[in-house]
């Protein structure tokens, strides 16, 4: 097990290196941030001074070397735009995205599992057809359109829910959390629904297909022949097998939820790191962009590790192959 963890970490370092290089060079090629940042009336000298202050006057490889050197000691640099440490900027926005992604994830699982189980158990019923048709819509509709329709209906027409921002936050453990206030929940609901749309649909379809297959398996027949309650047959014998592939996909889905949060946060002007990334790209705020990407890589490594651990708990055959 330790070996697996170590191997993953080494891989992560490699990925971080490549990714930071690509994004660093990429942003460098797109344009000159100083031109965007400088005031319209700035003189040539002022611009040159700013460029020198930000270290942008040096050749790209020197800039990158300096960046790596600082990163090695945990310094991710200073935002070009806000002149604040990048880490502070990101950490400040992180709780919003964590809340949003987690909420969307929980919605996907909490509704996806039961709906998928129902659709898989009664494939012929009208209810099952409705669930499956709904999940196709969830896949096919662009999530941002769904988000905008929600805004039109619930914010503009009915005036039930706010369409912008995070609402009131409460400080817990030094960070700002919206889930501890009623207003925060109201602000979170629509973005979380929009973000969960594709993942929810995916979970429904995966669970339904897995369930249909598992219910025909001999071990389910045998469980029934033993005289077990239908509840135990479905929720233990069938579901535990169904969950093995579902857990893998759910792990990967956390990644696409993070990616999706970029769009969702933009639609709802939700101040998370997704919105931060878009704003930073618009302003070529390279330190923020690169740090964001590195953070995402590390996040993925951790998620994959957790998925492996859960997988091991679910499937005894995997457990043995690791011994």
């Amino acid at each position: 097990m330790l070996e697996v963890v170590l191997r993953r970490l080494v891989q992560a370092v490699g990925v971080v290196f490549v990714l930071s290089l690509v994004s660093f060079v990429g942003v460098y090629k797109i344009g000159d941030p100083v031109q965007l940042l400088a005031h319209e009336s700035a003189t040539e000298q002022e611009i040159a001074a700013a460029r020198e202050r930000l270290g942008l006057d040096r050749p790209i490889h020197e800039q990158y070397a300096a960046f790596v050197g600082r990163m090695a000691v945990g310094d991710f640099g200073t935002s070009f735009v806000s002149s604040r440490p990048v880490v502070d900027v990101i950490v400040e926005r992180l709780p919003a995205t964590i809340e949003l992604t987690l909420a969307a994830f929980l919605i996907s699982v909490a509704f996806g599992l039961p709906l998928g189980i129902l659709a898989g158990l009664y494939p012929q019923s009208p209810m099952s057809n409705a669930i499956m048709a709904g999940s196709i819509l969830g896949f096919s509709l662009p999530a941002f359109w769904f988000g905008m329709m929600m805004i039109m209906l619930f914010s503009v027409e009915l005036g039930w829910l706010p369409s912008i921002g995070r609402g009131e936050t409460v400080t817990v453990l030094g960070a700002q959390w919206a889930v501890f206030s009623r207003d925060g929940w109201a602000h979170l609901l629509m973005p979380a629904l929009m973000l969960s749309l594709t993942t929810l649909s995916l979970v429904i379809r995966l669970v339904a297909a897995g369930m249909r297959e598992a219910m025909m398996a001999d071990y389910v027949k045998f469980a029934r022949l033993k005289g077990l309650s239908e509840r135990r047959v479905v929720l233990l014998h069938a579901l535990k097998n169904v969950m093995i592939p579902v857990v893998t996909v759910l792990g990967l889905e956390i990644g696409s939820l993070l990616a999706g949060s970029i769009v969702t946060e933009t639609v709802f002007a939700y101040p998370g790191i997704g919105k931060l990334l878009i704003d930073s790209i618009n302003r070529l705020d390279r330190p923020v962009i690169v740090t964001y990407l590195i953070l995402i890589v590390l996040f993925f490594v951790v998620i994959n590790l957790i998925v492996d651990l859960i997988y091991t708990a679910l499937d005894p055959r995997v457990r043995d192959s690791l011994r």
Binding site: M215, R232, I244
Partner: protein, 332 residues
């Protein structure tokens, strides 16, 4: 006559005119029909037939565990005097695994790969007996010992993939025997095993049959397996029982041409002049291609115009459904 003796005379299992139907988009498909079968307490019945003849379906129908869209289309299944077709699901569940049990064909697929052997035995114990975990565990160990699994205490916490095929089938048998059921339906439990393991398991089963006094329905496509176990043999063809009688009689003096054909196709027969084994012409029909009258007639060497009508059921203790039966001469 007292109630007790009346009960002892009455068969344990009595199927009359049972049919098994699959509801499809094109209407119902009849997989098994006109099924008549009686089984006395403690008796072993061999149910023999080719794949698709409906023998496994018959087993699942008795257990009340047909997978939809399959269902019992008609007839009565009397188990200990009670019609199983009229029982509600909860009452059936109380019988299943308790007073009647079933063992499936492929031990590699029967046990749940994600649960320990112990869990799968203990849940079967606790489904029908209100015992605590510790007591259930003790019973599980005893059950495993009974089917010849050594080191049972330790092996309880293993998963199915750590067991060999033969061991897994022993576990399924142990589970079936847990509550000393009146009826055990064994659906080709040795077919998927190596020949040597098969022999061991058969030996074990023969011992258990004598020990437990349960009635067995042993489903098989292999007459030689059934020959050594069964008191009576029923032969199924294309969803119907074509011959049924005492094992010795059916095996040595078959009346139905299909049974005769099966016996002649066994590989221990002397080969034909060209060195090949004798075989029944053609293959078993799919449900949709079954003919009217005698369903075996397209493949039967004795068939004539009369066979287009449904054949009568002749005989009492040795029944057969044929217009032109063999006269009961010994075939071997």
């Amino acid at each position: 006559m007292t109630d007790a003796t009346a009960k002892a005379d009455e068969p344990l299992l009595d199927l009359s005119d049972v049919s098994i139907v699959f509801d499809t988009a094109d209407g119902p498909l009849v997989a098994v029909d006109q099924l008549r079968l009686r089984l006395a307490r403690g008796q072993v019945l061999g149910l023999v037939g080719e794949s698709g003849s409906g023998k496994s379906l018959t087993g699942f129908a008795i257990m009340g565990a047909l997978d939809p869209p399959g269902r019992v289309g008609g007839g009565r299944i009397l188990f200990d005097g009670e019609d199983l077709t009229t029982l509600d699901p909860a009452a059936l569940r109380r019988l299943r695994g308790n007073r009647m049990a079933m063992i499936l064909q492929d031990p590699m697929l029967t046990l749940n790969p994600t649960l320990t052997i112990g869990t799968q035995i203990i849940e079967a114990i606790r489904a029908h007996r209100p015992v605590g975990r510790a007591e259930a565990r003790r019973l599980a160990v005893a059950a495993m010992r009974r089917v010849g699994i050594g080191d049972a205490e330790k092996r309880l916490d293993s998963y199915p993939h750590e067991y060999s095929g033969g061991m897994r089938q022993r576990v399924s048998i142990a589970i079936a025997l847990l509550h000393a059921p009146d009826l055990i339906i064994a659906d080709e439990p040795t077919t998927a095993l190596d020949v040597t393991v098969q022999a061991q398991i058969l030996l074990e089963v023969r011992r258990l049959v004598e020990e437990m006094g349960s009635a067995w329905i042993w489903i098989s496509h292999d007459l030689s397996v059934v020959a050594g176990l069964a008191d009576r043999i029923a032969v199924m063809y294309a969803g119907r029982i074509v011959e049924e009688g005492p094992a010795r009689t059916v095996l040595t003096r078959p009346r139905h041409p299909y049974t005769q054909g099966l016996l002649r196709s066994a590989p221990d027969n002397p080969p034909l002049a060209d060195g090949r084994l004798w075989q029944i012409a053609g293959s078993a029909p799919a449900i949709a291609h079954r003919v009217s009258g005698c369903r075996f007639r397209p493949r039967c060497p004795r068939a004539d115009a009369a066979c287009a009508e449904p054949p009568p059921d002749s005989g009492t203790t040795h029944r057969f459904a044929c217009w032109h039966p063999h006269d009961g001469e010994a075939v071997r």
